[in-house]
Symmetry: D2
Subunit: 346 residues, 4 copies
């Protein structure tokens, strides 16, 4: 199936190109980006800065402008929020399936905010969305990168014990800010204790994701989240210090065993990007670490460690995931793989 990538020259756009190289379902046929890049060969328009080589075939594509009509039935969007909203809406109305990483449509009432292992049933909302649009097109959205890591770690606990309150402090990687993103002078020998809009997303998105689609509407999960977000000098891999208040009593061993035993509901679908296990539990006292654990499961797994009681809530742990793979391009590709497997792509 032919696919297009919007915002293909940026940090997340490059990850899409990298992760789709040799993909068994999808072939990149079109790339589109802002006027600054449009009309140029992709290889020239983009400042490729991944250590794997840029695939030749994609490098030779001519970048299209964002308002060009597209041929590909499936569109991945890595657009920045200031342009994503309108462009994605237009493409969905025109019949394309749009798997987006942008924040604009995440909270729309009929747009699934999708982490397949957590809420694959939310794809049922696609039918409602198609009806609204009067088109075969639709949008599914990837949550915020920090939210994805957090929610994947929370899901097994919610299933087993219920989940009432979550305190999370993040130590987020530079690639989460895109490119050029964070100036080096701001982060060398430093921490930035603020990421615009991030805490708000982490405090709202998990409620939708962990909730249900029922009677034609999303019903939020009754979980309260408090987030404090920091930028640190790591290239990739968001690390999150989490404390949770569970609905039921649970021993430390039960909590650890529950995380460890968790199996993805996607296991039997044969999705190429689905990690197994999806949550890796490490026993060492000093794991997970960004450099050592971000690539676990090809960057699609979440690693959890340091599960221990919390003197205030019930349990504390540390979670880590790759923010531009699991938390962005890889997540949006997995969303599309799910749609493909469920017969929702044309």
């Amino acid at each position: 199936m032919d696919v297009a990538i919007l915002g293909a020259t940026g940090a997340v756009g490059q990850r899409f190109v990298q992760l789709l190289a040799g993909h068994p379902f999808f072939t990149v046929r079109e790339v589109a980006a802002s006027d600054r890049s449009a009309g140029r060969r992709y290889a020239e328009a983009c400042h490729w800065n991944l250590p794997t080589p840029l695939p030749d075939r994609v490098g030779d594509l001519v970048v299209k402008p964002l308002d060009a009509p597209l041929d590909s039935p499936l569109v991945f969007s890595a657009l920045p929020a200031d342009v994503a909203g309108e462009v994605e809406e237009r493409l969905a109305d025109a019949g394309h399936a749009v798997s987006t990483n942008a924040r604009n449509h995440r909270m729309d009432p009929d747009v699934p905010l999708l982490i397949p292992e957590v809420n694959w049933t939310h794809v049922e909302a696609v039918a409602a969305q198609r009806a609204r649009r009067g088109s075969e097109g639709f949008i599914v959205a990837n949550p915020n990168c920090s939210t994805i890591v957090l929610t994947l770690a929370l899901k097994p606990l919610q299933d087993a014990f219920g989940l009432e309150r979550v305190m999370v402090t993040t130590l987020q990687a530079l690639s989460g800010a895109g490119y050029p993103g964070v100036p080096s002078l701001d982060i060398l020998d430093n921490v930035l204790p603020h990421i615009g809009g991030e805490e708000e997303k982490m405090e709202t998105e998990p409620r939708k994701i962990l909730g249900t689609w029922r009677d034609g509407a999303f019903v939020d999960a009754p979980v309260l989240v408090s987030a404090a977000c920091n930028r640190v000098a790591t290239a990739d891999g968001h690390l999150e210090c989490v404390s949770v208040d569970l609905g039921l009593d649970a021993s430390p061993d039960e909590v650890t065993a529950t995380l460890r035993a968790y199996r993805s509901p996607l296991r039997d679908l044969g999705l190429p990007g689905a990690p197994d296990p999806v949550v890796i539990v490490r026993a060492e006292p000093d794991r997970p670490q960004p450099r050592l654990d971000r690539d676990a499961g090809q960057g699609m797994a979440v690693t959890v460690g340091r599960v221990r009681p919390c003197p205030i809530l019930d349990y504390k742990f540390v979670a880590l995931g790759h923010n531009t793979v699991r938390g962005a391009a890889g997540g949006a590709i997995l969303n599309a793989e799910l749609l493909y497997a469920r017969g929702l792509l044309g």
Copy 2:
């Protein structure tokens, strides 16, 4: 007054040397360190790695072994915990006042765990300790570096509103691990989500510090602390993301105004190392930052920012302080200045 420095060649020992250069009360006359250094000139025994020059006079001192008798009435200790306990005990019994940064005696029932601005009244325990020893000597201890930053930020809130629960996640600097400390390969493009013993200290020490000395014993404050400690790639400056549950209702403006209005009880003592203000509140959304704020108040102030409501506890904020100045050598020197001003040094 002549002073000695124990463990003078390490990271904190060097800070003692630096901060005592030109001190109006104290003159460094003796340095002592482990057998590896003993007998050598200080300038040769230590791998000086501060950007200010090593004072010549100290560089020429011959390093004494740790079991040597000392002439100085006041002794600063930057010893590692595996040797500090016994050495400090012996010196106190022999009549020296010991202001230590080591953890060994912090929780002793008659040793003040001192942050002068927070609990200067705890020096009353010195009399009890002297009585126990049958000596003029005694020990006062500096809390853990992360505890100091946290507790200074909490004190104004405790005074104004009462303090019930504190959740804190730290992003701690490399110098907190001493020298050679953290290998560069472990921290480049990485975070270490574990610091041995640190969370336990942060969960217990504030209770003693914020408590009272009454009827010959310390009574803990009834505050519950939950800590998650991380090492990040900053040289100096511990940053802490804090959520607090207050005893009384308070508006965001009241909380900020209370922190801003806080005045050190030491203001009239004329202590050279006492910062004024002791807590600096910044209004910018992205402060405090380690590189920009760690040197505030000559490294002795704590900077607080991002005061905002917490969806789970009452308020969240970010606090930052210099871990080897305020959190170690500078703090221990301020402790000694207080003892000096209170007539407790000889």
Copy 3:
């Protein structure tokens, strides 16, 4: 004397503001910058990122546009090269003394490319420049930051032994690229082996600086320079590995002694920004280092170490200086102090 700063909001502009705080000769009365900043209070227009506080008085100045007439007789320019040329020319023609850090006029035939300790006699060109302009105004230029560090280290050798060939490889700091400058994703765990235009500057500027002003024209020194420039992950402090071919034979001890004995020709002028010594020679095998030595002499000295024979040219050594102090704002201020002391400012 009242001074204006052009390009005041950038990285070098902020250094001007910082270094001129409390200056005995000069008072900042005007700040000017691009249209994006013009009309706003300086404190709001600039993203102040130095660890010392922004002086209140300057923070309250309203930023002027670059085409505004200025009242100050002396103007410091931290403008980027795309606008500096014309603006500085206009101000000099209008009677202002312009001490610039921009590259545009460095090689002009009557503009001194000034490092006061090296070529203070080049100020004689000011008279010729004034005559050309028909105005009391003129421009003096600061060399490129890497050139300054190199040339200060070479001058004592040129004086004592003559200088024929210089090979230099630089490891330059991030602040040399301005702000926002180098994206953090480009430099974390990385080196950039190219800095646009830098090698060309290092290969040409020293010839003018080390040359002479004779009969109304600059005569280049007959020294050949080959440069390779790299950007590394340091905040401040350019480190340079240098090999030199001297005109005369010299023993290693003579070379070291010559560097160590070098005395600035400015010593008796009482210039507040002139370091003494101007070249610091360190004997340790692993110095100079950016973090430890960049602030030597208030950031105005150059530190040299590892003087040793070169198997191909004559001697190798390592030189280091602070690129935004000695190599930019501090250098341009010292240039103005020299002009002031020589009676060339009004």
Copy 4:
């Protein structure tokens, strides 16, 4: 063929384990290390810090002491120099083929200092060495990591134009110092302009490597090398700024074309670790970079860029290679693959 790894728990030792996982010729059967580790399971004795998982089979091996007899005919040595000399000597005398990364025997008169693509004919010295020992055992040595990168880039130029003088300044990665190696406090926001012994190695080893084995002795190549070595904050990948004086005249295009056209003499041997091409030439102005190019050719290729005239010698360029793969474990494995293919292993 069964192999043993000496010094298996260190940084280079771990690379051996990683790179030998699934190797078609060699299977790791024994690991040996210092007394601190001996007797423990490898997984427990080593602080594994590579992002790929430790192979289970190796993790379960019990670490042998260094003086234990070994069963494996082939031994890889990642021992530190203070113990390598004697241990390797004993094993070679006892009949083992030893492929070492240690420096001790590099300059021995009958020990090949081997970079297979450069001087594979030096394996002829093995016969002489066996004769001396009166044993089937022998030692072949890997050059210093910086030397390997440099010499691979020089070899095509030597072949085509002759090579007279080489000036090189290195920017070397942290992993070159082993683990724990460089303390983080020494390198954050810093450069270390000295690496003990490194310059001497770079100035002598290439002469042997680029020379010939003739009439039972190594004859040095008549090339003069001057090196300046620096440690920078990169994890892996030594970057080297090189200037060369060639024996023949050559145009810039000829130099570039020669590097680009270079083909490894090993191409037809089918060695699993041999990269093709062995030298990659990049045309971008800002390559090679450590993060982007160190993994080229599975970390076994050397990347060259910025080929340009040098005002003093003939040409300048930048070379980069992976110091613990090509420059250490991977190089020593390739050496053994060559021995295997040439029938020199048992």
